[in-house]
Structure formats: C-alpha cells, structure tokens
C-alpha cells in the first residue's frame, strides 16, 4: 500500500551510485562510474551509440547485475530489488503494449498492478493526447501513438524515479512538448528523472553524465592478473 502515498514524500528522496562497473558480453561497459540525483533533479545520459547508456539505466532499475560499486537510495544501500522497483518507472525501447487490449485497458492493467488510482488513467491519456484513441485496440496505433501509450504509464501511478531510454523516438513535435511538460511537472513535485537521449530537448537544467568516455576494457570473469598463474 505504500505506492499510494509515495507521492507525499517524493521531496525527501535522492538516488545515487558510487563506483559502478558493469560487464556485458565479456567487455567492461563502464567502470568507476558515479552519479547522484537529488529531489527534483534530472540526469541526462550522453554518449555515442554503444557507450552504455541503456546498460546504465538497467543497472539503475535493478534489472542488470553490476560487478562493482553500489546504488543508494536516500543514502541507504539498495538491496531488495522488489522494493527498489516499487519506487521507479522505466520506459524502454520496448513498449509493453498489448495489441489486443484497448488503450484504456492497457493503462488500467498497469494502474491496478501499481495500485494507482482509477481516475489517473484519464489524466494520463489526456497528457499524451490519447483520449480520442481511448477505445481503440492498441494494434491500430502507429509507432508514435504506441510510444505515447508507453509514456502515459508514467502518470497512472506516481513513483519518485523515472528512467527514460530515448523517450523521444518516433514522437511528433506536439508529443515531445507533452513529454517535456510531464517531466517538468514531475520534477516540480520533487521527482527525479534520468534520460538517455541523443537530443537534449526534454530536460531543462538537468545534470549531464557522459557515459563511456574511456576505452572499453576486456573483462572476462577474471582479469589477466588473476589468471596469470592459472593455466601454466
């Protein structure tokens, strides 16, 4: 039931990571990475393709395992993935939309799961200009409309931390503005936002974190040093 009143204490929360390192497919994607977001803050992840923005977002969400460092929420180390998950919303490349359900039904499902209020569904649809499509099965939506439906999920049940992976993909100008507004509102009420994007448009006065400015290192389970005497 803490989902319900989490909106109240948005302001008191902060999120940070220290010395994070992550290995994917045998290569070290990043190492020694620090970040910190305070209430109302925003962090824009930048970096060329393949620099590790998506990976870092998944680490922040607790989905991907990291090899060193730690995450902290209000200075308390993040340990239980479920309770960490309850305080964040993650919009990924995949939009988790069920084609057979209508726009409203899609949102209603997530609202129920996240114990949000029924009433917020209409507001979320309005924010992303989906109201007129409310009774359309999602299979009839175009790429941008589907993506807007995924974004509308951010608003059905409040959560302090938003993780957005290239949220501008496929959006038209009006929808980009709507997204920027939603982000600004969320921050104004004390929420935090992390955006991985090649365009800066959505976030005003956010911090910037350059991901992957170092040469990626090879990383098997063990470093060369550790292996040195092993296979002789």
């Amino acid at each position: 039931m803490d989902g319900d009143d989490s909106s109240k204490d948005l302001r008191t929360q902060s999120f940070s990571g220290v010395g994070l390192a992550c290995r994917r497919g045998g290569r070290l994607v990043f190492t020694g990475l620090d970040f910190s977001i305070s209430p109302g803050g925003a962090l824009v992840l930048r970096g060329p393709n393949g620099s590790g923005k998506t990976t870092l977002l998944r680490v922040m969400a607790g989905l991907t395992h990291f090899t060193a460092g730690h995450l902290a929420w209000d200075s308390v180390p993040v340990e239980d993935p479920d309770s960490h998950a309850a305080r964040l919303r993650f919009v990924t490349h995949l939009d988790a939309v069920k084609p057979a359900l209508t726009v409203t039904e899609n949102l209603a499902f997530w609202t129920a799961l996240w114990r949000g209020k029924e009433a917020s569904i209409a507001a979320a649809m309005a924010a992303f200009d989906l109201t007129r499509l409310a009774e359309f099965p999602a299979r009839l939506l175009s790429a941008g409309q589907r993506h807007r439906l995924a974004l509308a999920r951010l608003l059905v049940a409040p959560a302090p931390l938003w993780l957005l992976d290239e949220p501008g993909n496929a959006l038209d100008t009006a929808s980009r503005d709507a997204l920027a507004r939603a982000i600004a509102d969320h921050r104004a009420s004390g929420g935090m936002v992390v955006v991985a994007s090649h365009e800066a448009a959505f976030v005003e006065n956010g911090d910037t974190l350059d991901v992957g400015l170092f040469t990626p290192k090879i990383a098997s389970h063990w470093s060369d040093d550790e292996l040195s005497g092993a296979a002789e």
Partner: protein
Amino acid sequence: MSVFTSILARDLRLAIRQSADSLTVVAFFAIATVLFPFGVGPEANVLARIAGGVVWVTALLAALLSLDRLFTVDFEDGTLDQLVLSGEPLSFIVLGKVVAHWLTTGVPLIIMSPILAVTLHLPAEGYLPLMLALLLGTPTVSLVGAVGAALVLGTRRGGVLLSLLVLPLYIPVLIFGTAAVEAALTGVSATPMLSVLGGFAVLALTLCPWATAAALRQAVE
C-alpha cells in the same frame, strides 16, 4: 492478492478476446489423439489397451505446446521487464499467469478427455479415473511447464528446448496418471495413485512459482 487477481483477470481477458487460442489447444489434443488409430491401426482391442497412455501423452504434449508461449509474448514486447519492476512479489504474478493458463487450457482438456477416450475404445469404467487423474495432474503440468517456459525465454526454437527440459519431469505424473486408469480397469481402487498425483500438485505449487520467478528475473537481466 490484488496482484494475483489483476494478472489473472488480464490474462483471462486476453484469452477470451482470442478465444480461438484455447480452442486450438483442445483441437491439437483431439487431432494428435486421433492420429494414433491411423498410425497403430483401428483394431479395438489394441487401441483399448493403449488408450489411457495415449490420452495422457497427448494431453501432456498439448499442454506443452501451449506453455511454449506462456511468457514469450510478454518477454518480447517488454511487458516482462515491467512486471519484474512492478515491486510486487514476482511469484504471485507468476501464479496468476499459471492459473489463467490452467483455466483456459487444462480445464478444456479435462472436459474433452472422455470423448477422446471413447474414440480409442477405452472401457467406460476408465472415464472417471481418467478425468480425476487429469484434474489432479494438469495443475502440476502447468506449474512445472511454467518453470521450463521461463528458462527457455530468449532462445530460438524455445518450444523444442522446453520439451527437452520439461517432459522428463512429467514422467512421474504420466506414470501415476495412467496407473490410475489402469487400476480402475482392473477393478483395483485408483485412490492411492490419485493421492500421489495430489501430492505432486501440492509440491509443485510450493516450489514452481518461486523457481519460475527466479528464472524470469535472470531472463530480463
């Protein structure tokens, strides 16, 4: 429990909206069973001899086929990421999906089974034990299958790999399931076999949702 019911409700709604789905599971069950008289020949005594086993094996294969896609769609469209991040116990969510699966495929199979038993010339006293055995056995089938379905997420040709993982685990269910039918035909009480099947179901209910949740977690990593 609200997680459980909202998952259950959504999966049932999806199943009803695409009602052809559970119908086709039953259709597979029927067709695969009907293949046997073609393959084995139509002699009633041979068929009657193998009827219980054939119905059980095809029921297992039918359940397997439908389990294949239990999590695949959610995995591919990103829903699974979101479910793992729901902040609710993942094993409850899993249980909701498994119960929806059982209601839409297991139950139709049970209802269908006596009809197929007739076409295979199973003696009438075998019908009730067959249905009871399926009633107690199919929940285990769904629960164990869910673990397999979660493990093979992200592999190509998951279906075949799934059967490799899961079919061996079905063997005990199969043995006691057919033994129950056998017993009834030879006039012995089927109760001991049925209670073993019930025991399997309880065991599966306590272990499988947890194991499935763990498998799903590593699938989205």
